[in-house]
């Protein structure tokens, strides 16, 4: 049976230190709606299910086509982009929306994912080019290598894998799956490989690869199906090789 209304239960919080509360909303069903369009309807008429006036729900969104990563939240308990959460594909019944739990709440469904961007600095997730002046073409690359690297290059820093990872939380040192997998990307690039050891050294330290508990939740929730666990395997081999090299160098 199709829905005639859309029932939502949304966890709200006015400020980082304010206590969370739940609010329920009921909207007329329209075909083709996603969670974002529900939130857009609410802000046009911010009234709860019981008819009480409330404020529009605060949430992050930008591209609305699952390439920017902004609108990540828990939809029925699962971390995902709310733009790609189509109402018709969700199970019948109430749709529950909550902010991600591994990052500090800013307001309502907005969280602060700055730790992920900071982690990208720690692992030096960039190609150290000499400058933007003209140095001619870049290195040649086999299409097969490019295809594998491209998988990792699609990471949106959305935070789904961080949310699902049992080892990652706001208090642990663990860098988390997404930033670690970026090392795999930059070490695969011919220029990036020149600094592979620097990145691997970070992964061999505290909060690095050995903190991964191999629960494999990260690959389950990645919206871009990035082969995160394969990256950890490959990086495990790279760090082992580096460890051996250092051992013999002594």
């Amino acid at each position: 049976m199709a829905r005639s209304t859309i029932e939502l239960r949304i966890k709200r919080q006015d400020a980082p230190s304010a206590p969370p509360r739940w609010e329920e909303f009921s909207l007329p069903y329209q075909p083709g709606m996603n969670v974002i369009s529900c939130l857009m309807e609410i802000r046009k008429r911010p009234v709860t299910r019981s008819g009480a006036a409330t404020t529009p729900v605060a949430w992050d969104c930008s591209c609305l086509e699952e390439v920017c990563g902004a609108c990540t939240m828990l939809v029925n308990g699962t971390p995902r982009q709310s733009c790609a959460a189509l109402v018709d594909k969700l199970p019948e019944g109430v749709i529950t929306l909550e902010p991600l739990t591994k990052f500090p709440v800013v307001r309502d469904l907005i969280v602060d994912r700055q730790p992920m961007f900071d982690a990208l600095k720690k692992v030096r997730a960039w190609i150290p080019i000499d400058g933007t002046y003209d140095l001619g073409p870049g290195p040649r690359l086999a299409e097969s290598v490019r295809e594998v690297a491209y998988e990792f290059a699609r990471c949106m820093t959305c935070g789904c894998c961080m949310e699902a990872c049992p080892q990652y939380n706001g208090r642990s040192d663990f860098l988390g799956p997404a930033p670690i997998a970026q090392v795999r990307l930059f070490n695969a690039h011919p220029t990036g490989a020149m600094n592979a050891e620097e990145r691997l050294a970070t992964l061999m330290g505290r909060g690095g690869l050995t903190d991964c508990g191999n629960a494999q939740n990260c690959v389950e929730v990645c919206p871009k199906e990035i082969p995160l666990t394969e990256a950890f395997g490959e990086l495990g081999r790279q760090t082992l090789a580096l460890g051996l090299k250092r051992l013999f160098r002594r």
């Binding site: 006015d14 400020a15 329209q30 083709g32 709606m33 996603n34 974002i36 369009s37 857009m40 802000r43 046009k44 008429r45 404020t55 529009p56 605060a58 992050d60 969104c61 930008s62 591209c63 609305l64 086509e65 699952e66 390439v67 920017c68 990563g69 902004a70 733009c83 790609a84 189509l86 800013v106 307001r107 309502d108 994912r113 961007f117 990208l120 600095k121 030096r124 997730a125 960039w126 190609i127 150290p128 080019i129 400058g131 933007t132 003209d134 001619g136 073409p137 870049g138 290195p139 040649r140 690359l141 086999a142 299409e143 490019r146 491209y150 290059a153 699609r154 949106m156 820093t157 220029t191």
Partner: protein, 604 residues
């Protein structure tokens, strides 16, 4: 002695490229963005970036790219900037490659290139069908590196509000809003670069991101920056519908051989796969044998409109055509178009490898934008490092990327926008550095009263807005704005409808005064910032509508059935709008067509 500092506002491709160039020149940057810069709208660009690298033995050249670009723009673009851009393109693609963009490769490991609209050459480099995302990430990474080294101070979660100007009118800083504390603050800057993207939200649901309100451009315009060619809005021929946005199906789908068709029979009810070849109307291929499905976007959108509205042949009787990829091997599609196939599967629920996609035209890009200057060399290129490049009429204020009006004339060619963002950043950065270094005194040494006044003005306004509790909902007003603009100011424009829309905008502006802020909170109050934005959006919408009403011809994306021909004698002119409280004041400036003489634009 204090060193100059530059504020870059907006962290898409244009803003990040400008930032990198400024930092390389040894000037520190304050980078402002409403979202973490990695989430900027550039991620939505799919198909690729143009550059005549000529890897397919076609004798392509930057000169041909240049001619294609100005012809594609129906000769409304100033030619020296367009020439500079096209000649710089191969070098920019190489640069991105060096930064690690995972561009698709040929069997030999060279960069691969594909076809795009408005050209007969394989000139578009691409990374699957997520080229904009990949390019943005590469620049984001380079900027993060400069941030780690202390040259870039990122202010993410800040929204541009307005300019701070000294007594002589020079821009010496800006006021921006902390989107968490909701407090405006003034920042000192020896140059300010607006890189804030396009105004898609004026048209409600478009292919644009939810953040593309055009409010920053509107705010600058309200403070005296001119807005040029506002009436030129690109409607992309192929998007899919949605309740929240219209999702783009890249032109690269046709570049890789995708075909547009409708059933020849009105009221056709068969599954498209059951319709025999002879009963399919490949209307672009029939009417334009040379360019076929790869005519420029303005041409394709008008033809789709004609076939669906005038001939009544739209799929299921709607404004809808088939975009058919089913004849292309699935492996090729996955490798070259994976990103858009994924979007179609996810949001339309069908597999485009097996079933023709259902697509329709959607508002996509603004060729118009803030007026910016340039300095040309005797050879017809831009003089790199000249402070005039990309400077608005407000001294010290620059505009770069979709927010400016340079390069694309009356219609942009596909895969030229990533290029113009990068090239714009590449020339605006050094120009702004030259300007900033020549400032005496530097913004840091100007009296605090100047900045206190700028901040105070906005604090007062936000205190006033925060008290508003009228009967109008600002999001409902924005929806009405979008519906009117989409209905009357997109592919086909009738004078009477434009006049009605202009009157409607006046009405919306009055109702805006009675808008409620909906939320009394003092923390992350999204409706409060939106109420402020909406006023600028309404003013900017009038620039689009009045410009369209005034221009009595058809050129590029601007098509009026009542004036169906291009009229160079009267209208080969740049529209320049200046703000007045009673609406835009329009004037017309000559276009620099010194390099390629205007000819009739033909693609058949």
């Amino acid at each position: 002695m204090a060193a100059p500092r530059i504020s870059v506002i907006g962290g898409g491709l244009a803003g990040l490229m400008a930032t990198i160039k400024i930092v390389e020149a040894g000037v520190a940057v304050d980078l402002f963005s409403i979202v973490p810069v990695k989430r900027s709208h550039s991620v939505c660009a799919q198909g690729g970036i143009n550059g005549a690298v000529n890897v397919k033995g076609e004798n392509d050249s930057p000169e041909i790219h240049f001619v294609d670009t100005v012809r594609g723009g129906d000769f409304l673009a100033h030619q020296p900037p367009a020439k500079g851009m096209c000649y710089a393109a191969p070098g920019l693609i190489y640069l991105l490659d060096r930064m690690g963009v995972m561009f698709n490769r040929t069997a030999e490991g060279y960069l691969d290139f594909r076809r795009f609209g408005g050209t007969l050459y394989n000139r578009t480099a691409f990374a699957g069908a997520t080229t904009g995302q990949q390019m943005l990430y590469a620049l984001d990474e380079q900027v993060r590196r400069h941030e780690a080294d202390g040259w870039v101070d990122k202010h993410e979660g800040w929204e541009f509000l307005g300019l701070v100007r000294d007594e002589s009118g020079r821009c010496v800083g800006h006021a921006s809003l902390d989107l968490r504390t909701m407090k405006p603050r003034a920042f000192r800057a020896d140059a300010v670069l607006l890189c804030t993207g396009g105004p898609g939200l004026l048209f409600g649901r478009t292919t644009n991101s939810a953040i593309n309100s055009g409010a920053a451009a509107g705010a600058a315009y309200r403070e005296g920056a001119w807005y040029a060619n506002g009436e030129f809005i690109q409607v992309h021929p192929t998007a899919i519908p949605g309740q929240d946005k219209l999702r783009l199906m890249s032109e690269s789908a046709r570049g890789e051989g995708g075909r547009i068709w409708v059933p020849r029979n009105r009221g056709e009810t068969r599954d498209p796969r059951q319709i025999p070849e002879a009963e399919r109307f490949y209307f672009l291929e029939e009417k334009y044998p040379r360019y076929g499905n790869l005519v420029p976007r303005d041409v394709a959108s008008r033809e789709i409109y004609d076939v669906c509205v005038n001939q009544g042949l739209g799929v299921e009787g709607k404004m809808c055509v088939y975009l058919d990829l089913t004849h292309i091997p699935a492996e090729t599609l996955d490798r070259k178009l994976g990103g858009i196939l994924e979007i179609y599967e996810k949001f339309a629920g069908e597999d485009p490898r097996r079933v023709p996609m259902k697509v329709f035209p959607a508002v996509h890009y603004s060729m118009g934008g803030l007026w910016v200057d340039y300095a040309a060399t005797a050879e017809g290129f831009l003089e790199i490092g000249h402070p005039k490049n990309h400077m608005t009429n407000v001294p010290g204020l620059y505009a770069v990327g979709e927010v400016d009006y340079q390069y694309h004339g009356a219609n942009r060619l596909g895969a030229n926008s990533l290029l113009s963002c990068l090239y714009g950043g590449m020339v605006a950065g050094p120009g702004a550095v030259t300007w900033a270094r020549s400032r005496k005194p530097l913004a840091a040494d100007l009296p605090a009263s100047l900045f206190d006044a700028g901040e105070g003005r906005w604090s007062q306004r936000f205190a006033e807005l925060a008290r508003r509790d009228g009967p109008e909902n600002p999001f409902v007003l924005a929806e009405e704005l979008g519906n009117w603009m989409l209905e009357n100011v997109s592919v086909v424009r009738f004078d009477a409808k434009l006049r009605e829309t202009d009157a409607k905008l006046e009405e919306l502006k009055e109702r805006w005064q009675k808008a409620s802020v909906l939320d009394r909170g003092a923390w992350s109050n999204q409706p409060l910032s939106f109420v402020n934005q909406l006023e600028s959006m309404l003013d900017l919408a009038r620039v689009v509508v009045r410009g369209a009403l005034a221009r009595e011809e058809s050129r590029g994306s601007h098509y009026k059935p009542e004036h169906p021909k291009r009229d160079d004698a009267r209208w080969l002119r740049t529209t320049i709008a200046a703000y007045t409280p009673d609406g835009p004041q329009l004037r017309y400036d000559p276009v620099d067509t010194s390099l390629v003489p205007p000819v009739e634009r033909k693609y058949d």
